[in-house]
């Protein structure tokens, strides 16, 4: 019975006070971050971006320009590189020649992204191929069907199988929060995933392919889960919100939540990422505004992947 297995899990890990979460995240946007702190936060956010293109119309040429953008987001202002480029498995080999040895990592969504509705064998083969082609990081989707049916062991076994298939590559486990429906479910799924992945692996909010994406609320539930898991086991799990983070102001609010929940240890690209495409250019726009004192026009910057 789904209800009883979820109940047993929640008795173990604790439930979520939904009103409390909403109340808490409502205060993050009120933090005043100006001048040097703002520039620091914006540059930090640039260094945490997983610059993403996940379109049916992706071509090797588009991947090449995405990689160039990742390596040099903007020539002015002494900016960091982004953390990674995030592409479909078939595009990994086209990204390798551009970013190999630069410090920018290649992330690939795998496991029949975004639905995950393919046989396990197929999904694992996809992961192995992406890793063999040169993916440093794998973004997998959980089996939401198994989770919602209460088949937690199946869901965890599948994640464990993907962990094994990843080899040395970092794993990011996408919960697809919009399909889990409640904060309790998000917390439960976070714990189920964190118990089978390795230290330094990620849990990630969403695919960006459904109507609802990362919000301060569902990120907060996951950050709290990471903190509770860390306090109980000492294992550091990383976090990646994805989808719907379109501007610099939102990014700073998400970082405030990380700082106030997990502390400075998580404020680095190995512990926190933004899955985004259009976010990068808004970060650059605000950084240039800070640097020059003049509001910028969009055409000052090279096109990001959302502009194609």
């Amino acid at each position: 019975m789904p209800a009883s297995s979820l109940r047993r899990l929640l008795d173990d890990i604790g439930t979520v006070d939904a009103t409390g979460i909403e109340e808490r995240v409502a205060h993050y946007p009120t933090r005043s971050i100006k001048k040097q702190a703002k520039t620091f936060g914006l540059k930090l956010a640039v260094s945490m971006v997983d610059l993403t293109t996940l379109e049916g119309k992706d071509t090797p040429g588009k991947i090449a320009s995405l990689c160039r953008k990742a390596l040099c987001p903007h020539p002015e202002g002494d900016l960091p590189r982004v953390a990674a480029v995030c592409v479909y498995p078939s595009m990994v080999r086209h990204a390798v020649p551009h970013v190999q040895g630069t410090g920018v990592r290649i992330a690939s969504v795998a496991t029949a992204f975004p639905s995950g509705q393919a046989p396990l064998k197929t999904r694992l083969a996809e992961v192995r191929q992406a890793v063999a082609d040169g993916a440093d990081e794998i973004d997998m989707v959980i089996n939401r069907g198994a989770f919602l049916a209460g088949e937690f062991a199946q869901m965890q076994d599948e994640i464990a199988a993907v962990v094994e298939a990843c080899g040395e590559s970092t794993l990011k486990v996408i919960l697809e929060t919009s399909e889990l429906e409640t904060y309790d479910n998000i917390r439960a799924a976070s714990f189920l995933a964190m118990r089978v992945i390795r230290p330094g692996d990620f849990i990630k909010t969403s695919t960006g392919k459904t109507s609802a994406n990362a919000t301060l609320g569902n990120q907060q539930v996951m950050l709290d889960a990471i903190r509770d898991h860390f306090l109980a086991t000492g294992v550091e799990i990383a976090m990646k919100p994805a989808g719907g983070i379109k501007n610099a102001k939102q990014a700073l609010q998400f970082l405030v939540a990380v700082k106030e929940t997990l502390g400075d240890a998580w404020l680095r690209p190995s512990r926190y990422r933004f899955g985004a495409s259009s976010l990068l250019n808004d970060l650059l726009r605000q950084l240039e505004t800070q640097r020059t004192g003049a509001y910028q026009a969009p055409w000052t910057f090279t096109e990001d992947s959302s502009g194609y």
Partner: protein, 281 residues
């Protein structure tokens, strides 16, 4: 009956907004009694208004010239129907407001007429020596920033706005600081005139605070302003940095003069595009 007092708000992006800063300043009637609190807009409000204009501009530019004319004519109709209210807002001890309202309605209708005609005047077919059909058409420059003078708070504001929007530009305008109420009313008329939200954005508040942002904002492609010599220098310096056009008007000019009825005011807010079209010998 209990009187319902109005909260004056700025018209930005097709919505009626307060300043993001939360600031207001008091407005008094000619006889000195308190009327209302007017939004005291900030540089961030200007930035947000430019974003709204950027969204609305391309759609407005794609409208057919005839459709732009219809919409501007409807704005004149809306002003006509509320002319008494606007006139009372414009009335000062020295001048009755009716004349300014009438002149403004005339000016709107005048520029509405130009909407599908200025291209014939400003564009051209150019004689060239090769076997090409060579012609020049105009295109809107983009987003135009407008700094209205303190006097003639409706007529001068519209005289600066109309040539820009007729040509398919979107505008962000700062109203007269001392007499902002006609611009508040104008926003209410724009909202019912079929003009797409965001094509005209009206801000109220401190000119001194926002002037430098108007000058330096890279997304604004032209400025139409009345300015003191010091302000003009500041505008031109900032505009040079961001490569935008500055059209300056004499603050003391006669805004009612028919001299303002000219398609060459529209040309200031257009770019010329010349096409060389090969033709058979």
């Amino acid at each position: 009956m209990l009187p319902i007092t109005k909260t004056p708000k700025c018209y930005v992006g097709g919505a009626f907004i307060r300043s993001e800063s939360g600031r207001v300043y008091p407005l008094s009637s000619a006889s000195g009694e308190f009327l209302a609190h007017i939004p005291l807009c900030s540089r961030k409000d200007l930035r947000n208004a430019v974003e709204a204009a950027a969204k609305a501009g391309p759609g407005w530019a794609r409208r057919s010239p005839y459709n732009r004319a219809q919409i501007l004519y409807r704005l004149a109709e809306m002003l006509e129907s509320r002319s008494a209210e606007m006139a009372s807002a414009l009335t000062t001890p020295n001048s009755p407001g009716e004349i300014e309202v009438r002149t403004t309605i005339d000016r709107i209708v005048h520029f509405a007429g130009w909407a599908d005609k200025y291209e014939q005047v400003l564009g051209s077919v150019n004689p060239v020596a090769s076997s090409h059909f060579n012609f020049t058409v105009t295109e809107p420059v983009g987003i135009v920033g407008i700094l209205a003078p303190e006097n003639s708070p409706l007529l001068a504001l519209m005289t600066l706005i109309l040539p820009a929007i007729v040509a398919g530009n979107a505008v962000v305008a700062l109203a007269s600081e001392s007499q902002p109420y006609p611009a508040i009313l104008l926003g209410e008329l724009l909202a019912v005139s079929d003009l797409p939200g965001g094509v005209v954005n009206l801000l109220t508040g401190p000119r001194s605070e926002m002037l430098s942002t108007f000058a330096t904002h890279e997304h604004l492609r032209a400025l139409a302003a009345t300015a003191s010599p010091e302000e003009a220098t500041q505008l031109q310096a900032g505009a040079a940095e961001s490569i935008k056009r500055v059209v300056l008007h004499d603050p003391a000019c006669d805004w009612a003069s028919p001299h303002h009825h000219t398609p060459y005011a529209i040309r200031d807010f257009t770019e010329a595009k010349t096409v060389w079209h090969p033709v058979g010998a």
